[in-house]
């Protein structure tokens, strides 16, 4: 991989890792609350629509999901190597493709709100 491309991949990985390290414990805690049947008022339909409908909420959600997806994809690529899968090119294409599909879906759903 060329140095220029490597720095982009690494930059997305680091940014996504930092974001998901900081934010996902709270996200998991919210899913836990929902699973327990204690849905917080901010996650009720009207409130969440208002949040995701505003451009600030939209951009925040998009950035968090987009960067976290790329972080996970890049790390998963290395994990495949570490577990003995040596077909890096195929693995890289697959994980980045899934991340790209997830990113497009995120953008589409946010656009629709």
């Amino acid at each position: 991989m060329s140095i220029a491309r490597k720095s982009v991949v690494w930059g997305l990985f680091a940014a996504g890792g930092t974001l998901s390290a900081f934010l996902f414990p709270a996200v998991i805690a919210l899913f836990l609350l929902v699973a327990l049947g204690r849905v917080p008022p901010g996650l009720e339909f009207a409130n969440l629509q208002a949040f995701a409908g505003h451009w600030v909420g939209k951009s925040a959600l998009f950035l968090v999901i987009f960067l976290s997806l790329w972080h996970a994809a890049h790390r998963l690529r290395v994990v495949f190597h570490d577990f003995g899968v040596r077909r890096d090119k195929a693995v890289a294409n697959a994980v980045y493709l899934v991340a790209a599909i997830g990113t497009v879906m995120t953008a589409f759903y946010l656009y629709r709100i």
Binding site: G37, G42, A72, L76
Partner: protein, 134 residues
């Protein structure tokens, strides 16, 4: 190359098992699966939300509410904190050392700064979701 360099034989798929540091590294790296799972859950939530119907959002919430999900989220939360969040903070001063002229900011300051910022961010997200308003 005419010479044959010596390559230490190493099992491809189980090289990390004999060393505590390598095992910890692997425990940390597989957290990417949890990040992926929660991204997928968030996208699923956005799909339900963007349908514009409160019923579909209610159906999404109902689909999350079962014992298996409670157990999964509880285990995921502990695992994620230990191996993703706290490990990321621990490595931060090595990945992003901060230097003022000749002086290097001590790593402990950077780590503590991360923990403080993390508490603020977590409280903010929970406040945003309305957890802290009763």
């Amino acid at each position: 190359m005419s010479r044959q360099p010596y390559v230490r034989p190493m099992p491809k798929a189980s090289w990390y098992l004999g060393n505590a540091r390598y095992r910890r590294y692997m425990f940390r790296e597989v957290t990417c699966l949890l990040v992926g799972v929660y991204c997928a859950l968030l996208i699923w939530a956005l799909a339900a939300l963007s349908s514009g119907s409160p019923e579909r959002w209610g159906a999404f919430l109902a689909a999350q509410q079962n014992t298996a999900m409670v157990v999964f989220h509880a285990l995921a939360l502990v695992y994620y904190l230990v191996y993703m969040t706290f490990d990321w903070f621990k490595l931060a001063p090595k990945a992003m050392p901060v230097q003022f002229g000749e002086q290097k900011l001590p790593g402990s300051v950077i780590v503590v700064g991360h923990y403080v910022a993390w508490i603020v961010v977590t409280l903010f997200v929970l406040w945003l979701a309305g957890v802290l308003q009763t």
